[in-house]
Amino acid sequence: MDPEGLTGLSSHTHNGREFLFCDADCRDRFSKDPEKFLGEPLIRVEDLWKKFSLGGASVEVLRGLSANIWEGDFVAILGPSGSGKSTLLNMMGLLDRPTAGKVFLRGEDISVLPDERRAELHSRMFGFVFQQFHLIPWLTAYENAALPLLFAGKSADSDALRQLFRDFGLSERMSHRPYELSGGEQQRVALLRALANDPAIVLGDEPTGNLDSVTGNRLLEVLIDLNKAKKKTLVIVTHDADIAGRADQIIVVRDGNVVRDHHRHKGIYAE
């Protein structure tokens, strides 16, 4: 990138090369573990475009967006409604196909994979948590959480999963149906479902958006613990400044592109 004309840059010298950063935070993060950031990111999206046709009119939600996510980071994606942040998350997690551009997972182009491979990545690499929980109403909490095991061709009878239920304080709730659970419990079951196949990456689309602040904070702690203790890469779309404040990296999306100079805009998007 041409640094010409950009102001307020910070610089850091590593192995005799000078690296420029938008601000001191980024520089400090780099200087702690320069090898990680010099290597291939876990997820790299490159010049992503996504058009939706809505009743004849086509809307460009992503316009040539590029971003990197490194292994083990907690990344928050911020932006106003309709900015394309959820679409970006969907692209990273292979829930949608870009109109143009590429998505790389550990250097491999995964934007054009056949259905089988995509399903395999969904079950092995990614764990999703949604704002609406999206549990299946006629299955019990345990059966919901065990669904990914089924699609991965494993037995739904898993001691590891039961242990997770205990860890999450849900062992009494395993045979309850979603409507018998509180919002926080439902979302924790949804998180257990995301973790059932022990994925490397947990993707959350406003996971605390439907929860009150206390419950939301508890869930956030669980998520951050997954990131810190279990080294899972965590990518979360959020409106919440508190969540963003605890992230290793913040990607601010506006009008289908990344806002580079985000720290100054942070207040604006924290609704």
Partner: protein, 403 residues
Amino acid sequence: MNMLTQFLRLILKGLRHRSLRSWLTILGIVIGIMLVVAIFALGGGIQNAVARLLQQFGSDLVIILPGKETNPFLALAGGQKFKEGDLLDLNKVPGVRLVVPMSVAVLNVEFKGEIKAVMVHSQPWREYRVVAEESKALKLIAGAWPENEETRELILGYRAAFKLFKISPKVGDDLIIKGRRFRVAGIFSEVGLQDEDNQMWMSHKDFQALTSQRGKASTAAVKLEKDVDVDLVAKQIKAQLATQEVVRDFSVLTPEKANQIVGSILSVVELSLLIIALISLIVGAIGIMNTMYTSVLERTRQIGVMKAIGASSDHILSLFLIESGIIGLVGGVLGIAFGLMTAYAAGFAAEQFGIRGLFSFASLDFFGLAVILIIAFITGVVSGVLPARQAAKLEPAEALRYE
């Protein structure tokens, strides 16, 4: 536990969750299959019954009826009557062995204070005995043929003897018809046809005296000599009968022709029943399709979730196909069960009216039933394919956005 059984559990839970809708869809299939099975199971029995009916005509009998040939059976009811002499003149036609003029009337018959309306068949005893024994396989199980035309004797059909009256009349008992006593001379063996078994037979002379229809007869059975050309003799009978002027329109029914008429009526009936069954099967299939489409729409978001957590398009496709297959299969099994029950009930009801052997479990074609079951399953799967494919090809994000 392998994937298929886990899928089955998942699907069954879903079906139970929407149990009313699931059962209604199954009902759609059940009705179609039920009709097909009932028709299928009764078809053989009906054919047997018709075969027995045709046997009554005998293979060497030509039947003469008033009314046009296109519709001879209808004309019987209120038809004109031949002069007996004209009919007996047919004896002169070469190839004719004997002529039996016959009449029928419904008369009140009293036995031990009980009065029943009975179809009374009249004919000369001597000639009819030849026809009955040689051409119709109609045998006496009790008593003997009357020797004389004027002794006021009756032969009872099997049901007329054993089912009609509370106390069954025996050979030698007297029945009262129009205030006159008639002695039971014999009882015929069971034919398995309502008309025949419920009848009583009396001599032509007695009948004419009772009904004051002297010298008249409504039909005649003509027994032919051995090894004659049936069609040729029938033509000659026709020509001879045309000389009389009492009955202008009459039919000369050879066994072959009777076969054709009954057969064509039967095939029209069977065909229309099958078409009805087929239509209801199609309606059932549309029902499955409709349910599957609705449930695809309803579950669009769940499909999105399932894909997000690792379900491939093939997984989604199989989930929906297995579901519609189960609906088809359950519908098929229940349809077959209800169809057999319907056939059994129909057979039972027919038996009450004297038509035996319409349905029997022993004569069921299990291979045919298996084919019907497979058809039901395939109907389910095929009607599930379209909605299932639509469900499977959705992008997860698209599906999740669905409201």
